[in-house]
């Protein structure tokens, strides 16, 4: 039985499995989106429906809601694999674990992050966000949500073996989200003043590149600790 090593085959196999599972349990895709929608509708109810005020707060509201709904889905990323023993099979595979992890995080972003980005124009209407800021919001989310997935997966990997890891994971991960939040909301603020916000986007992009390169290694180590 010949083995032909192809990193692409591994990557697509892992992605395909996770996407297949997500589409079989569609609640997994829909629930974080509904959560996002509900959090956003809570704000006008709580602070009053004044359009100017809402538009001023919209970037912050959208981003905090995005952070929270990403957290909601993170717990699932390694849990099933940990409990059914697939994680051990992935570790004992002859492929490097960081590559497997990269595929899993990418699949996770397609399931949770991408729908969020696509739905943002609709949610922005609820908050009276002008079109200029909306474009900036979509750009920051496009760069920022994968970053959230990568950083969050480190926390998920560390806490997957614990009985009630969810809260601990939030405590570990949310402080690490602060830089992303600062640069993303700063970009949107700048755009609302009709200024150039490419600097903030560049920093988000740079953070994403660093995360793609280094987070899979950290996640692999975290998973090995959790399995042992």
């Amino acid at each position: 039985m010949l083995r032909k090593h192809s990193y692409l085959q591994l990557f697509t196999a892992v992605c395909k499995k996770d996407l297949q599972l997500a589409f079989r349990q569609r609640a997994e895709i829909v629930n974080p989106l509904l959560f996002f929608l509900i959090v956003i509708t809570l704000f006008p109810l709580a602070i009053g429906p004044e359009p100017g005020l809402l538009a001023r707060m919209a970037p912050g509201i959208i981003w905090v809601a995005a952070l929270l709904s990403t957290m909601l889905g993170l717990d699932k990323i390694f849990r099933d694999d940990f409990h059914d023993g697939s994680l051990e099979q992935l570790i004992a595979s002859s492929y490097p674990l960081p590559l497997t992890v990269l595929a899993k995080v990418c699949a996770h972003w397609v399931i949770t992050g991408l729908p969020l980005v696509l739905m943002t124009p609709l949610f922005a209407l609820l908050l009276n966000l002008d079109s200029q800021s909306l474009v900036a919001t979509v750009f920051t989310l496009l760069l920022g949500t994968p970053l959230l997935s990568f950083i969050g997966a480190i926390g998920a990997g560390l806490t997957v073996g614990l009985q009630k890891g969810g809260i601990l994971m939030s405590l570990l991960v949310l402080p690490l989200y602060i830089p992303v939040l600062i640069f993303a909301t700063s970009a949107i603020d700048t755009s609302s003043m009709s200024l150039d916000y490419s600097g903030q986007l560049a920093i988000l992009g740079a953070m994403l590149v660093v995360a793609v390169m280094s987070a899979p290694i950290a996640i692999s180590s975290a998973l090995k600790v959790s399995v042992s």
Partner: protein, 177 residues
Amino acid sequence: MQLAGPNGAGKTSLLRIIAGFASPDEGDIFWRENSITKSYDEFARELLFIGHKTGVNAQLTALENVRFWLQIQGYNNEQDLYPLLANIGLVGLEDVPVRTLSAGQQRRVALLRLWLNDAKLWILDEPFTALDKSGVAFLQDRFTSHLENGGAILLTTHQDLTTHFNDLQTVTLEYRH
């Protein structure tokens, strides 16, 4: 080689240490004279591990599970798996989610890997659990052919294997309070 001992003696823990999932408090594991912590990838290429948790996803079908496993191990995924599924007694059940199968059938889905690998060392934790008599006999035949091909098997089981395997070595762990 059979690892024996009462419940709680540490059989599973020892198997997981040998497979490289946990690190020992003292000592080191060597495979072909190399420490597995240093050259884990080479060791992993020759290792097949089926633990207590078998690595079968309950939402996927038997066929999807086996194909996924073949892919993550780098084996050829194009081969026709139906004859093998029929042999192991899963005919007609290829396309239903594994969670709807019985415990013995789920175990069979995991054990399918034994026919689909070229690993030298098999580490199996309680492979006979939930299998019926014909399943046990079928598995023992596979063990025999693996050993004849120069493979090694390290397993834990409460079954008596001495009648089937002449050169069986048994290591017994004691329960320490």
